[in-house]
């Protein structure tokens, strides 16, 4: 059951990488083990909890279900890629202000999901937030705080003209 190896190129947080991977390497492991981007978390490994969410060409994916090979030639954004020049992204600021986290093991996933949501729907209704984030689990169950963080982030982004 030796997996085949192959070379891939991909862009992670704006930086190009060329890596040798096994065919069955998951994007999650490429990020965490090879690139040491450990802000992306594994909660279940089966695509249910959303803790491992990253953006693939701007679209949210579960990195635990995505093969690294599928990301070849594409742009991946992780939680580490949100802050620019040491300045937090408005979504991150909003999560701090509204305390949209407790243990924060789910937080990278929720923040990436929030970013994707607001890129798609800049001013979502409460129902749209619930729907969009319904695939992410927070066992500390800080859902009401997370909702406020999303709304706060939406206002921040609007104020900055995105």
């Amino acid at each position: 059951m030796e997996a085949m190896e192959r070379q891939i190129r991909l862009t992670v947080n704006g930086q190009e990488h060329e890596l040798t991977i096994r065919d069955n390497t998951l994007l999650l492991w490429l990020l965490r083990d090879d690139l040491k981007l450990v802000g992306t978390r594994e909660g279940c490994g089966t695509g249910v909890c959303g803790a491992c969410t990253v953006l693939l060409d701007g679209r949210p994916v579960n990195s635990c279900l995505t093969l690294a090979a599928q990301a070849a030639g594409h742009h991946v954004t992780t939680i580490e890629g949100l802050a620019t020049n040491g300045r937090l992204h408005p979504v991150q600021e909003a999560y701090i202000e509204e305390r949209g986290f407790q243990c924060a093991f789910c937080t990278s996933g929720f923040i990436m999901m929030t970013k994707a949501l607001l890129d798609e729907i800049p001013n979502p209704s409460e129902e749209e937030v619930r729907e969009y984030l319904s695939e992410n689990i927070c066992r500390c169950a800080g859902y009401p705080d997370i909702l406020r963080a999303v709304q706060n982030a939406s206002r921040k982004l609007a104020a900055r003209g995105r």
Partner: protein, 805 residues
Amino acid sequence: MTRTGEGRDARAVGRSVPRVDGAEKVTGRAAYVTDCVVPGMLHAALLRSPLPHARIRRIDAGRAATHPGVSAVVTGADLVQMPGLDPYFGPAFQDQAILAIDKVRFVGDPVAAVAAATREAAREAAQLIEVEYEELSAVLDVQAALRAGAPLVHERLRPSQAFADLMGIEAERQTNVCYHFKLRRGDVERAFAEAAHVFEDTYTSPAAQHAPLEPHVTVAWVTEGGLLHVTSSTQSPSYVRLSLARIFGLPLSKVRVTVPYLGGGYGAKTYDKLEPVTALLALRTRRPVKLQLTREEEFVTIHKHAVTTRIRTGVAADGRLLAREVAVYWDSGAYADIAPRVVHKSGYTAAGPYAIPNVKIDSYCVYTNRPPAGAFRGFGVPQVVWAYESQTDAIATRLGLDPVAYRRAHLLREGDLFATGTPMRSLAVIECLDAVAREIEWGSGLAGSSPPAPEVREAGVPRRVLRGKGVAVGIKAALAPSISGATVMLNADGSASVLSSTVEMGQGSDTLLAQIVAEALGVRVPDVQVVHPDTAVTPYDTITAATRSTFHMGNAVLQAAARVREQLFAIASDRLEVDPDLLRARDGRVFVAEAEDRGLTIPEVFGAAFQAAGTTLVGEAVYQTSAIPTDHETGQSERVTVMWFVGASAAEVEVDLETGQVRVLRFATAADVGRPINPHHCRQQILGSAVTSIGQTLFECLHFEGGQLTNGSFLDYMIAGYRDVPPIITPIIVERAHPEGPYGAKGVGETGALSVAAAIGNAVHAALGVRLRDLPLTPERVLQAMREREPARAARRGQVERGPG
């Protein structure tokens, strides 16, 4: 929502200051054990038993040992040959072997461990180990385990000596009952004979999983100097140090347990779990070893107890509660873990916070061949509240009394004696009940709205639904005796460090402790660094659990800070030529209370005392609470705890008559927190407990078949998500300052979990006139109950089975 305390801007305490761990946590930089990589690190995997109960005849690890990348394979047989090793552990009984020795006791019991270069190699090798079992007949539930002549899960038991409250526990000989708590107060039988009504019911609450998003994970290595370093996702670093020192015969100083941030605990990560086996592999291989559970393994590691409660209550014609007799059966699984404490502490509250002169409680901790059960947020109390608050509601309803008014009339008041004979102190249970009732507009409309069923249209489709409201209260006692030690260091620049073994697992303890120090020393919250547990430097702490940290560690840190302040004031009083009692500390200055401009900055005070930069003033304290052990035969104790915490919940539900689906439309939950140190964090704890408990009330449940867990993955096991949060959910802080609490605080980690299920069950009853006695309240169960009830309901339509309003 009570917002008391948020206006006092000058203070660090009583305000919702931002979390000190915010920036780390939103950038993904907060480090968890899962992120820990040590040079040369191996990965471990476990082989687990496929059978619930079997004798191990033979293990052949030959193929695994030669599998590429494998460094070590260890089995139970190896353990007994290792000199100086005591292979058994457990906080109550040392009943669990690091790897099964001679017998396996549940499907999932670890049988062998492999350390290899990669996770995959370790897992592959584990599957190559051949084990020959002789299957034994198993006890798969409490009933089977209690039957005369039932197979024994454990033939011998050895009490652990780790905790004062568990020193005296004795197992019943030659049965599967590993602990039986008894409470006897008054004369129950006579009171039942005199009662006008007797209510007798059995309520059940299922096994459920904690499901912290971060699974259990441990990394262990041995340094050149012979120090065993273990970094682990544990809520009890001091206990783990003790346990490892005992197992491996090491001095406490040679075991160093460090704990970074935890990705959730909820009780799952209390006591030793992976630490013994990971340390064993590290000692064997002389390499760092990491063991991280898969989600599926997490499910069989620990869970919330499945409980059956038989409850019988005698009531006078005027509604007075004359007697209550409760028998509680806890399915503790194959290893006791902390179950005897659960059985004791929840057992003695099983009659509820009511004035009842005659009480008899029997609470049984029962071994079965299921995965072990242990601490879960609420520590067993939610399961007994489900029984006593459902029945209390049934009593009020049967007597035609308003459930809120009925509870108010019979709840214990300050100074009354609890069933344990303990006088009640600082108890705002009535205030909590009133607050939640008000919040859901108890007494106005809707409650008991049957019949007729109002028609609701959803997406144009009419649905027949009924709505109802329900309330419930709950009480839990803080763990006592218990101990917290802390060190506070003030630096010459006015920043400070706190050394504490309290684990930051999301509850906000870093922020809370920083607030306390900032308040005591007059420094800024962000300038206080809380050092995470490191048993090499952070003093002993009983555990981060049981709603005890704010009260115990808060007090230890407050006292340690006060000792620093004394030194600071002594130096300043010399300089300022003023009595130290007249000095105050605020905004990084020490000044005279009556003349605020006469003062010194903290750096100036240090300058007066030391001829060097960067110096420190150090204060230490150990805060210890005491208790009188409950009497072996009667469960009586004048001081069973130092602190009670109480809460109440109120729910408005809608039940779909076609599908049986219960939806919580409105939910209010109140907790008496003493005085909130960080009100927002208190509300977060209350809300988080409530939402999790709503999931456990409506759908969470572990299913077993022949001892095998059948829904042990996130694909099969539902936990509360966004859709399950009620459209209106209100956390309410009720303040009844505790005289011994730090700044009057109590604690709030579990209060929100206590009464949720019963409030929802009572609301369902108000809606349907049907009382469900088994959790979770699934649509199938609701429909079934409605079918069984239909003839009776038709006959009594419009009579007493409705709530107020």
